[in-house]
Subunit: 282 residues, 2 copies
């Protein structure tokens, strides 16, 4: 086998990228559904959060992360971050990937989430709670419109929720005001809304408070299981990619920040201690 | 005059650096006290906030900013950011500056603030409210100990205050919980404390709420005027540097983020519209 073919059939870990810690909520569900593969998780914690940043910056940082994970041997990279999926995925898939290596793949979290919530809603009116970046990109509106023409999406940006989670205030009384504020705004005047998606990987840590604020008849959906099921389905439909996902059941954690800091906050998201390694990606 | 001497006597704008928008509260007071000079403000908004980041990352980002401002002609750079002053200033002054250009200067905000609050306290017990980075560095404790041996410093990290200010929640009811929480912790069991410094450039925007939470007999000090007075004093004592600060009264605003975003939030800190230019510094 020559070098070109060897590279073409070589396998590597599945890359899971997030700006920070939130993607760990997605990784957890992916590993539960697909424990047989090797994974490498990369958190760009030195430059997180991406939520409030502009298109140009999110695109540049995300592309650096994807290139880095490709150089680590990943054939498949999941952007486990709604802001990166919203602002960078399309350009990376259409402009960068063909030049870097057309046989590799980068997948996001918005398409599978939109597919899934479209199947769940009965009224055809969906609520999206996300970062300023995700909401202003209108990515959910566009995906839902493509998949389910005529369905309605109402969105609300929740900029205080990531700081609350990262400062371990998600269970404290100080979070109530901001759960009330953003959920209240989403619901006001939108009586037909029957399904709400937590479209930021940090938000599942506020699930209890959000669930209590939302009327019982409205479903509140987290993305972890949806993304995991969608990846399982994708690998079933793409055996050529499945063969390139290395088997072993391991998971390596990489962070652009100090690894001790990653371990401390990683525990909040995973309920277990992880050993992380520092890397520079820019 | 040969090239070396020309460079040695050339003048440039005074550089004012902050990780984000907070340094604008310092810039405002500096320009009020010293309106005759040219200024260039640099906000590393694409990678802000620095408050929660590790020593290594804050040092690396700050050094990049200082080198960038030197390349723009600045002979004097003010780190108008407590986290950068706490975690990067000493190493830059001692290790990097002698190699880059020993005739240039980088000054921080902690030394002048410590000098000033040491003169204000009567009990010798000072309170410091700052970011996790500033508090964990113990920079205020060390500066006060050097200048006023025997004085006591009690610190409290206020990690939710920067997100509150940057999300325009400083005047909202949601901020009350976090003002109560951090100020309450600072005061608890510290009856001798008579002077509190707001040791983060964002915190003046929460001054009203903080002032109402602190008993009347305790002074609450913002840094802007202190840093401005200290710079005036420094330039008076260093005529060779004063001559290298270009006169003209202008101010240029640079940001690593999208300039429209800078203009929007800049208004909150300066009460006026500023036109910013995008730059890459890494």
């Amino acid at each position: 086998m020559d070098a070109v073919n060897e590279e073409r059939y070589a396998s590597g870990p599945i890359g899971v990228f997030d700006s920070g810690y939130g993607g760990l909520t997605i990784l957890k569900e992916i590993r539960r559904a697909l424990p047989q593969y090797d994974y490498v998780y990369l958190g760009d914690n030195a430059r997180a959060p991406y939520g409030p940043r502009s298109f140009d910056i999110v695109y540049r940082f995300t592309l650096e992360a994807v290139r880095f994970l490709f150089a680590r041997g990943c054939r498949l990279v999941i952007l486990a971050c709604n802001t990166a999926s919203a602002k960078a995925l399309r350009t990376i898939q259409q402009n960068d990937l063909p030049q870097i290596d057309p046989s590799r793949r980068v997948l996001g979290v918005i398409r599978p989430t939109a597919e899934s919530i479209g199947r769940l809603t009965k009224t055809g009116h969906i609520g999206v709670l996300g970062t300023v970046g995700t909401v202003s990109s209108q990515s959910y509106d566009m995906e839902v419109e493509k998949l389910y023409p005529g369905y309605r999406v109402t969105s609300e940006a929740c900029p205080m929720w990531v700081p609350l989670v990262e400062n371990l205030e998600a269970d404290g009384d100080g979070a109530d005001y901001f759960v009330d504020k953003y959920v209240g705004r989403l619901l006001e005047g939108n009586e037909t809304l029957d399904t709400i998606v937590l479209a930021c990987t940090h938000y599942p840590l506020l699930y209890g408070k959000i669930r209590r604020r939302v009327p019982e008849g409205i479903r509140v959906v987290c993305q972890g299981e949806i993304v995991a099921e969608s990846l399982k389905d994708y690998l079933g439909r793409h055996p050529e990619m499945e063969r390139r996902c290395r088997r072993g059941g391991t998971c390596e954690y990489l962070t652009t920040e100090n690894p001790e800091k990653f371990t401390g906050l990683g525990r909040v998201f995973l309920n277990e201690d992880v050993i992380a390694t520092h890397v520079d990606i820019d």
